[in-house]
Symmetry: none
Subunit: 403 residues, 2 copies
């Protein structure tokens, strides 16, 4: 019995005019899983804890984020295909536009013209004896890796996150001298980025073309690369990840899952989710555990677009869940979400998510896959950190504790 | 969105003739909250843990009592308006009556004649280099504070808790020499209380008046004053407490909440609970978080009086919940209890309490605020320590963990 874990990012919600998007959507295939499986609600990290997608996924894979999470940086770096060494500090970066000391565009107009070349100018420097690795990722995004002795991830961001604000000074967030040192390196790097990018011919060309110059690097989400016990060893199953989201691919790479690429998978509402479903069906032939991640539901939520979220759920139902059910064979299917992203607040919330498991389970009387109906289900309310144990048990893989 | 937390002390119960007091009572306003909100059951400290009111409230405010609780003494002292320093050991005391070596009345006839003067005789002594602070509180109650170096709260009580027993010798409860020292100080203090109070003119006068002499101090509930991270800093909200119960006011003072006094609020079944409701409605104008505590339900429970408890619930429904619902504006209302105090056993039990939250919540099909119906609610079964996180999340104040 194999395991297919389907996570629709940010799918849980609160009520809008008396209904959640899951309640408003027509989704016979998701409801089939609820009706024929066991349901419940789940706090991915813990009751009342508002999770990020990274901390939520770590927890769902059985890695307590309170032990293992230091910041998003390393997962972004790994997800972008970079390699990290233990002790590296990684930060997520934006190419941005600085004018008269203020950040007038945090994304340099979202225009990637010449950014590869600019990234190369910053890559390979050394600051205070620390190696600087700087790589462009998709769009205006990049990753900064600090490699050296005595670094810390407990430093603040330089990205002001709001428009027309000054870039921030990175500060140590504790009294550890490593944090002071790391913040200083980040601030020197920021200065270097202004000096090197400001006069660069690429930016002269961008300006001539009517584009915003990419003349500063803003950093955020510092994290330190630590050892995560590999998923395959830990659970004695071979796991694969199908996700188009850099951060989520990074979490999966960090725990040693294989990453399966799918053409046309974008991580947006327009993604080729049918192709991802096919990839999952195929992957189940060679993997014990397949994790299928779909991001569009979260994107629609952050946009506050109820109809788009409802439509995305219906599309997942028809293009993902339907073919998976049709091709189901010796597989326990889990349908859930990493966290709620209520349309009304456009950000993650701690409201528990619905979960349904189709397999050798004690079925319950719940007939529809919604937040409120699953709350009445046979699983009751569970914690994300326990999910892997429950799935290993339901597929008769769990080790006996005791005699 | 503000938060109003209403705690009816000891309101949860077990069945008497097939019904709990909450099931027997007519309480349309409490039921309105259940019907239009989300419901559940809650273990204030943990499943199977029989909580005191102090440990339960600490937990409900998000302070794990297993980390922060050493005894009720400091909360009684703070609730009585005394000031404590870190390291002070505080104990709750009774003026009592000793006759032929036995405690014939643990409360000296509940008569406070002259007790203030007697307390002054004991206050300000020094025993083994430790400062003795002794203050009369309401009725026959008092607080003893030991201030000095190397004290411990891990010592036993001298109050035998039963009638016609000898006063107990305080003993160290571990091998820490500080505990041995503290127990010795307490025993010396007890001796001093017998010597000083025994021949005191006040007691001669009491006897002449036909009252029992107050000729010994019994102590219990030693606790050591520790630092509790302030509520306002921790949650970034301004909190106020409305309670007439010294112990509960003490818990709230310990975490830095403001205490709002209400005329006629007694902490008994005859309390001016309507006045407390009004105070809560007013406090919501200037506080983000208002905690309203009503004690009468617990008192009726300790008396084993089903009809009185039922009547108290009905009075709370009409005099507290009704005006609060009528004046509701931008407030998330939480109705619950700190623990169950079943009529049948007249003491606290670990039975979970019902909880209902009215606000931006996923409603459920529960229509009445009772122990058994709320057990079917959408919150399922939660732990008290998670309540603050859930409330911060529902009012969109929770911090994001991760990205």
């Amino acid at each position: 019995m194999k395991i297919l874990l389907i996570i629709c990012d940010g799918m849980g919600d609160r009520l809008i005019d008396g209904k959640t998007p899951l309640e408003a959507a027509r989704k016979p295939n998701m409801d089939f899983i609820a009706k024929n499986g066991i349901t419940g609600i789940m706090d991915s990290v813990g009751p009342g804890v508002r999770p990020g997608s990274d901390t939520a996924h770590l927890s769902l894979f059985g890695y307590n984020p309170f032990d293992f999470y230091t910041g998003r940086g390393p997962f972004e770096a790994l997800g972008a295909g970079l390699s990290l060494r233990k002790g590296d500090v990684a930060l997520r970066c934006n190419f941005a536009t600085l004018q008269n000391g203020k950040v007038i565009d945090r994304r340099a107009g979202r225009d990637e013209f010449g950014l590869e070349e600019l990234a190369n100018e910053l890559d390979g420097m050394e600051i205070s004896g620390t190696e600087i690795i700087f790589k462009k990722c998709s769009g205006h995004r990049a990753v900064l890796i600090l490699r050296g002795e005595n670094l810390s991830a407990n430093v603040s961001d330089t990205d002001p996150e709001i428009k027309n604000a000054k870039p921030l000074i990175s500060k140590p967030l504790d009294r550890n001298p490593d944090s002071t040192k790391t913040a200083e390196i980040i601030n020197k790097f920021t200065q270097k980025s202004i000096e090197i990018l400001g006069d660069h011919p690429i930016n002269k060309e961008r300006t001539k073309m009517g584009k915003l110059p990419a003349n500063i690097i803003l950093v955020r989400g510092a994290g330190i690369q630590t050892h995560l016990p590999p998923f395959n060893h830990r659970y004695k199953i071979k796991g694969a990840c199908i996700s188009a989201t850099t951060l989520i691919r990074g979490v999966c790479r960090a725990i040693g899952m294989d990453i399966i690429g799918v053409e046309g998978a974008t991580g947006h509402v327009d993604s080729n989710i049918g192709g991802k479903a096919n990839a999952a069906i195929n992957a189940l032939k060679s993997y014990d555990f397949v994790f299928l991640h779909i991001k569009g539901t979260d994107e629609a939520s952050h946009d506050g677009n109820f109809d788009l979220k409802k439509a995305m759920i219906e599309r997942i139902d028809g293009e993902v869940i339907k073919p998976i059910l049709e091709n189901r064979k010796d597989v326990t299917i889990v349908l859930t979400s990493d966290h709620s992203t209520p349309i009304s607040i456009r950000q993650h919330s701690a409201d528990p998510v619905p979960i349904a498991i189709l397999g050798d389970v004690r079925t319950d009387s719940v007939e529809r896959f919604t937040e409120r109906e699953c709350a009445m289900g046979g699983l009751n309310r569970i914690c994300g950190i326990h999910l892997m144990g429950i799935l290993l048990d339901l597929t008769n893989r769990a080790e006996l504790f005791g005699a």
